[in-house]
């Protein structure tokens, strides 16, 4: 799992390293002020993929580190999410595994999974999704298939996928076949792998 040290080190190699370091220092000294930096992170830290850290962009990493630097508790982290735009929400979701929030942020996953924004749905299924109950997690995986979100976004997919998910995927594939529509390749592969485990 990607940790804060990895993110911070990678950000030091970006053109916006100075702004990021200043913002993190300010957030640590005066936590009340970090919200403006958090909002501005996209335009100040950049939105490019972070070199050497697959799956993370510079703004997401900066926002995750700002939440840590400002020592935000569960209630504050949730508030940042509820008041965030889509990019800010996605950054909070990706940061959750690093933050001392316990299970208090599970409602954020439910919120993200309720949306039709594929970026939020995918971000909700990282390592923190271990706190989702199995029924909600299966629905989330099926929603990914439905929305053409690649299943590579789902953390520990192989470990958690079960017979019930296989049944849901099979029914989905049947509906698609009846309609003459395709099933995403990764869903087909998952279904095959689950079916072969059973037999």
């Amino acid at each position: 799992m990607t940790g804060p040290e990895t993110l911070r080190a990678a950000l030091r190699d970006t053109p916006h390293a100075e702004w990021v370091e200043d913002a993190l220092a300010a957030a640590a000294e005066r936590p009340g002020t970090f919200r403006r930096s958090f909002a501005a992170a996209g335009r100040r830290a950049g939105r490019a993929p972070l070199p050497g850290v697959p799956g993370w962009t510079a703004d997401e990493a900066t926002r995750a580190l700002l939440l840590l630097a400002a020592d935000q508790g569960a209630a504050e982290v949730c508030e940042v999410y509820w008041q965030g735009d889509a990019d800010e929400k996605r950054a909070v979701l990706k940061a959750l595994p690093m933050l001392p929030v316990g299970t208090a942020a599970v409602p954020l996953l439910h919120d993200a999974l309720r949306t039709n924004d594929t970026r939020l749905v995918a971000a909700a299924l990282g390592p923190y999704a271990r706190h989702l109950d199995q029924a909600a997690w299966r629905q989330a995986v099926l929603k990914c298939v439905f929305m053409d979100v690649r299943l590579a976004a789902v953390d520990r997919l192989g470990e958690r996928a079960d017979a019930e998910l296989a049944a849901m995927l099979a029914a989905f594939a049947e509906e698609r076949a009846a309609a003459g529509r395709a099933v995403p390749d990764d869903a087909t592969a998952l279904l095959h792998s689950l079916s072969s485990q059973e037999s």
Binding site: R35, R36, A39, A40, G42, R43, Q83, D85, A86, D87, E88, K89, T115, N116, D117, R119, F146, M147, D148
Partner: protein, 285 residues
Amino acid sequence: MRIFDPHIHMTSRTTDDYARMAAAGITAVVEPAFWLGQPRTNPGSFTDYFDSLLGWEPYRAAQFGVTHHATIALNPKEAGDPRCRPVLDLLPRYLDKDRVVAVGEIGYDSMTPEEDDAFERQLAMAVEHELPALVHTPHRDKARGTRRTLEVVAAAGIDPGRVAVDHLNEVTVGIVHDSGCWMGFSIYPETKMSPPRMVEILRRHGLDRVLVNSAADWGISDPLLTLETGRAMLEAGFGEDDVDRVLWRNPVEFYSQSGRLDLTGTAAASAEPTFAGSSIKRGGS
């Protein structure tokens, strides 16, 4: 023809509109926060609306190859409603966000003291957050409302070059031209402004600081009237570069003053104008 609609309320439009707009070359839009027709009764109703303008709507637009930004404000009509006034205190957190390229729509509806106060406070927020301002002019008593608008803008200490005064017509264009503010024109099927009248105004007042929008919303309106205006300009003898300036470069210049206009995903932002950038990525499941 590449077109940037600097004022359109996509929340009230359908996906068919997005598809037609993209096919017509309208690949960038700014959606000002406004009045939804139905009165809102509490500030939470506004935060959900603002969140939608900054979250869901740009996502929806992107499915059709349209780049979407927003302006955020408490609109003039609801600024007089005591149930909505607390929205003014919620605005600062929104004005820091990425896709917010101006404070707006602000200004007058009925020119009440409450509207004065909301207008002045929001102009001050524009200065504080280093954003331009998009100012609505009233439908009733428009000439007097426009004069009063310009007085308030002058007193606010905001650079007039960072203010667009919208919904102008033949009667109000002159004083706004002289003020140094940008001039917005909303091209409507029946009211406000028509393509032929717009062409005449461009002939008389030039192309500087002119913004042409459809202001399409939930009423009788048409998101393709910017395109119609471009065609009317060509028929009247304006060149393609003139059309590009009015329908693309002018709105880019105005909103770029926010420092937050991001057109990197827009095919039309490259040197060569294109009709081919209108790919629809996904039909929906």
